[in-house]
C-alpha cells in the first residue's frame, strides 16, 4: 500500500471518527488503527485561542490578585485587625474590572519599594513583624555608629606609652659659651691695713682701670685725679654707697690687709678676696663667685630622680621629635636652678623639658670633698616610636 492510499484510508477513518462512527467497519491495518486511535483523542483537542485566552486571564488574574493582596495589606494598616471583615481577598469581577485592577497593580509595582520588609506585614511568603525589623535596624545602626566612633576616638587618642625620652648630662659636648658680660674672675687688693676691708660697694665697672678703688685714700692730692673703677661689665651697676667690699661687714673704713692698691685682703687692684682688678673671688677682672664649671677638680652631679618629660600635643600630632639642650645650675643641695634653654626644639617641647628638669634631683657636684654648685648642660631627647 503506497502512502497515497494510506492517506486516503486514514482520511476516511478520520471522517468516521469526527462523525462519531469510529473506525468500525473499515478494513484497516495496524498502522491505520494506531493513527485513528490518536485521531480519536485529537477530536477533543482544545481550541488554541481558548488556551491562549485562559492563560492571559491567569496572568491578568495573578497580577490582579497581587494588587488585591497589597491593597488589602494597606487596608489592614488603616483599619486595624478585624476592622474590615467584609473585605474579599480575590474578586472574580468582569474583564474590565480585572484589566483596571491589572493596570493599578502595574502602577503599584512600578513604584520603588523602600525597606519592604519593614513596611509590609509579609514578605517572601513568611511572616515578618515590623517591631522586630525596626529593632534589628536600630541595633545594626547603633553597632555601626559605635564602630565608627570607636575608630575615630582611637585614632585621636593614641597611648603615650610609645613616647620614649632620654636625657644626658653632657660634660664636654655642649660647653658653656663665653659670656660677654659675665666672667668668672674677681679681684682684690688692699694697702696692708690692720683691718680687713670694710663694707661698701665697688666703684663703677669699666673696660679699663686707671685708678684702683680705695676706702681710705692714700694720696689726697694726686697730680692727675681720675675716677676709680674696677674691670668688669659696664652695664652692671652697684649701689652708690661708700666704697668697700660687698661681702664685708666691717664698718670701720679700711682698704684691707692685702696689697696692690685695691680693696680687699688679697692682692690686685680690684675689690674682694680675689687677685685681680675685678670684684669678688677669682682673678682677672669681672665679678667672681657663682657656680663651678665641670672639670679641674669638680665632679659632675649625678641625677637620682629624673622623671621623663611629657610630649606636647602639638609635637605628637606632628610626629615631631628631636633634642632640647638646657643650661642648668645644680646647687650644692642637688636642686636644679636657673634652668635655661640652650638649644631650642619648639612645638612646646622646650617648656616640657624645662618643667621636667625642674623636678629632677641630683647628687651634687663635689670639689675638695665638699658639695658645690655647678653649671651643666642637660640634653633631653624626644623620640616617637
Amino acid at each position: 500500500m503506497n502512502s497515497f492510499s494510506i492517506a486516503d484510508e486514514l482520511d476516511q477513518a478520520v471522517n468516521n471518527v469526527l462523525a462519531g462512527v469510529g473506525a468500525a467497519g473499515l478494513n484497516t491495518d495496524l498502522e491505520i488503527g494506531e493513527l485513528v486511535g490518536i485521531a480519536s483523542e485529537l477530536r477533543d483537542l482544545p481550541e488554541p485561542t481558548f488556551r491562549a485566552q485562559l492563560k492571559a486571564q491567569m496572568s491578568g488574574h495573578s497580577v490582579s490578585k497581587s494588587a488585591t493582596l497589597v491593597a488589602s495589606q494597606n487596608e489592614d494598616r488603616l483599619c486595624g485587625a478585624g476592622a474590615c471583615p467584609g473585605r474579599v481577598a480575590f474578586d472574580f469581577g468582569t474583564l474590565a474590572s480585572r484589566e483596571k485592577s491589572r493596570l493599578h497593580t502595574a502602577s503599584l509595582q512600578s513604584q520603588p519599594e523602600i525597606l519592604p520588609s519593614l513596611f509590609r506585614s509579609t514578605s517572601e511568603g513568611y511572616p515578618l513583624h515590623q517591631r522586630n525589623m525596626a529593632a534589628s535596624l536600630f541595633m545594626h545602626v547603633t553597632a555601626l555608629a559605635l564602630v565608627v566612633v570607636g575608630g575615630v576616638w582611637a585614632s585621636h587618642d593614641q597611648p603615650v606609652k610609645k613616647i620614649f625620652t632620654t636625657h644626658t648630662i653632657a660634660l664636654a659636648e655642649y660647653p658653656l659659651p663665653p659670656s660677654e658680660s659675665v666672667s668668672h674672675g674677681g679681684g682684690g687688693g688692699g694697702t696692708r691695713d690692720k683691718l680687713k676691708a670694710s663694707a661698701g660697694a665697688p666703684p663703677r665697672f669699666a673696660a679699663e682701670q686707671l685708678t684702683p678703688p680705695m676706702v681710705v685714700v692714700q694720696n689726697l692730692h694726686p697730680s692727675l685725679p681720675t675716677e676709680s673703677t674696677v674691670i668688669g661689665p659696664p652695664d652692671v651697676v652697684f649701689p652708690k654707697t661708700q666704697a668697700g667690699d660687698l661681702y664685708s661687714t666691717l664698718l670701720v673704713p679700711s682698704n684691707g690687709a692685702g696689697y696692690g692698691g685695691g680693696i680687699g685682703d688679697n692682692h690686685g687692684t680690684g675689690v674682694g678676696i680675689g687677685t685681680g682688678p675685678g670684684v669678688g673671688p677669682g682673678s682677672g677682672g669681672g665679678i667672681g663667685g657663682g657656680p663651678y664649671s665641670l672639670g679641674t677638680g669638680v665632679s659632675a652631679p649625678r641625677p637620682i630622680y629624673d622623671p621623663e618629660p611629657e610630649y606636647s600635643n602639638q609635637a605628637r600630632v606632628a610626629k615631631f621629635q628631636g633634642d632640647v639642650v638646657l643650661w642648668v645650675v645644680v646647687g650644692a643641695d642637688g636642686i636644679p636652678r636657673d634652668v635655661r634653654v640652650q638649644r631650642s626644639l619648639g612645638m612646646g617641647l622646650d617648656e616640657k623639658a624645662i618643667a621636667a628638669v625642674r623636678n629632677w634631683r641630683f647628687e651634687p657636684a663635689m670639689k675638695d670633698g665638699h658639695a658645690v654648685a655647678v653649671q651643666v648642660s642637660i640634653e633631653v631627647k624626644f623620640r616617637l616610636f
Binding site: 492517506a7 486514514l10 485521531a39 488554541p48 485562559l54 486571564q57 490578585k65 481577598a89
Partner: protein, 182 residues
C-alpha cells in the same frame, strides 16, 4: 523535542511556593497542568465548549485558593483534578442528564493513564511543524473537511491528506518516544 512537563517534585514544589508568594507565577503552573486538567474534564463532558468552560473555572478556583494549598507529597495536578471533580459535580447538579458519583473519578484522578496519554497528545500537537499543526487544528478542532482546508491553504487535497498522515505519524512517533523515556 521539549515537553512542558514537570521534571520532579522539587521543581513543582518550587513553582507552587513561588505562586503562593507571588500569584503572577501561577501562569507557569497553568501552562504545565492545563493539558492534564483539560483531558480530565473533556473525558467527562459531552462537548468541547463545555470542557473549556469547566477547565477555565477549575483554574480560576485554583488561582483563588493557591494560598491554601499545602504540600503533602501528592503532585500538584492531583489538587487541580480534585478541584475539577468538584467543579464537575457542581456542573452535573445543574445538569440532570448525568448524576454519577465522582468518587471513582477522584480515585482515578492521579492514576488514569488515558488522561496522561490524552494530555501528552494535546501537548505534542504544539510541537508539530507549523503546517502539520495547522492541518490538525483545522481538521479536528474546526472539524473542516480536507477540501476546505485545501482551499484555505491553496493546496491540493492530496497534499493536505499527506500532511494529515505525516502529522499523525509524527504524533505516534513522539508518543512512543515519550513512553520509552518513561
Amino acid at each position: 523535542m521539549h515537553l512542558k512537563v514537570v521534571e520532579n517534585d522539587t521543581d513543582e514544589r518550587f513553582l507552587v511556593e513561588a505562586a503562593q508568594r507571588d500569584p503572577s507565577c501561577f501562569a507557569e503552573l497553568y501552562e504545565q497542568n492545563f493539558n492534564r486538567v483539560y483531558a480530565f474534564v473533556v473525558r467527562r463532558v459531552a462537548t468541547r465548549e463545555e470542557a473549556q468552560d469547566l477547565t477555565a473555572e477549575v483554574f480560576h478556583q485554583a488561582l483563588a485558593g493557591i494560598g491554601k494549598f499545602e504540600w503533602r507529597g501528592a503532585p500538584f495536578v492531583a489538587w487541580l483534578l480534585g478541584i475539577a471533580a468538584h467543579v464537575l459535580a457542581a456542573h452535573w447538579q445543574c445538569n440532570p442528564k448525568r448524576q454519577e458519583i465522582l468518587a471513582e473519578d477522584l480515585e482515578l484522578a492521579g492514576n488514569d493513564g488515558s488522561i496522561e496519554r490524552r494530555a501528552m497528545i494535546f501537548q505534542l500537537v504544539e510541537s508539530l511543524p507549523d503546517d502539520q499543526r495547522q492541518v490538525i487544528i483545522r481538521r479536528f478542532v474546526d472539524q473542516r473537511s480536507i477540501k476546505e482546508i485545501a482551499q484555505e491553504f491553496s493546496r491540493s487535497e492530496g497534499a493536505i491528506k499527506q500532511l494529515q498522515l505525516r502529522a499523525l505519524r509524527n504524533l505516534r512517533t513522539r508518543l512512543r518516544s515519550h513512553h520509552e523515556q518513561l
